[in-house]
């Protein structure tokens, strides 16, 4: 059962990623990306990380995708047209490089089959993650808050600046 769900999710994830990079309509691409992010959240559920899955849906499929769709609607959604094509040489080089990367990665990754240890109680839940965040990872947590503040100020400045 879990295996079948895993293969189905993997198929949908790869297909939606392919739609994102190949389709010509930015609105379709945004919606495919939203579905892709939801499949990643489903992977998190399968890997017994429920809180990460919820945050993935709220933050990515909610907040970030709304930003993306908002910008797509704000700008011209007509697509790239002729000027947006890359040269033939770059296309072939990209495909070759992608195959080389996959050929290097796959034999190592597929062969990795550890015996899964049993998870402790409350694994991946709100309580255990909150405890870790406010004890062992307190400094990165505060650094992330400063990063988000800086990003907020930067985005506001960029959006409000007058064009001269």
């Amino acid at each position: 059962m879990t295996q079948a769900l895993f293969y189905l999710t993997a198929f949908v994830a790869v297909m939606t990623a392919a739609v994102v990079i190949l389709h010509r309509n930015p609105v379709v691409e945004s919606l495919a990306l939203a579905l892709h992010l939801c499949t990643i959240a489903f992977f998190f559920v399968l890997l017994s990380a429920p809180f990460a899955a919820i945050i993935q849906i709220i933050l990515y499929a909610g907040a970030i995708m709304v930003l993306f769709l908002f910008v797509v609607m704000l700008l011209d959604p007509g697509g790239e047209g002729k000027a947006g094509k890359v040269g033939r040489g770059q296309l072939y080089a990209t495909i070759l490089g992608a195959f080389a990367l996959l050929a290097a990665l796959f034999p190592i990754l597929v062969g990795y089959e550890p015996s899964l240890p049993p998870t402790p109680a409350g694994y991946g839940g709100v309580e255990s993650i909150g405890t870790l965040l406010f004890t062992d990872y307190l400094f990165p947590f505060e650094a992330a808050s400063i990063l988000l503040l800086a990003a907020m100020i930067g985005a506001l400045y960029l959006a409000k600046r007058e064009i001269d």
């Binding site: 990306l33 796959f106 550890p114 990872y137 064009i163």
Partner: protein, 100 residues
Amino acid sequence: MVPIGLVLAVSGLLFTLGVVGVLIRRSALVIFMSIEIMLNAANLAFVALSRAHAGMDGQIFAFFVMAVAAAEAAVGLAIIVAVFKRRHSTDVDQMALLKW
């Protein structure tokens, strides 16, 4: 039981798709979406390895990656809107001012 090696393989495949998207598309918005795909592939590998060791550290790291992705999306999309206001295009080949 979820096969961890296959999850890592899917993560590698998605990362490769993101790299291909960055290289073959010239619209800044689509390049951004491909970067999101790559970040998510990395997150997937983090959570899978976290499960393989029954520890929580990989999940915590995935949260920090999400925070960085949120910051990057906010600032990056603001930059795209600012560039579009000036040039009426999001084609990255036209933003070659700093290229020698």
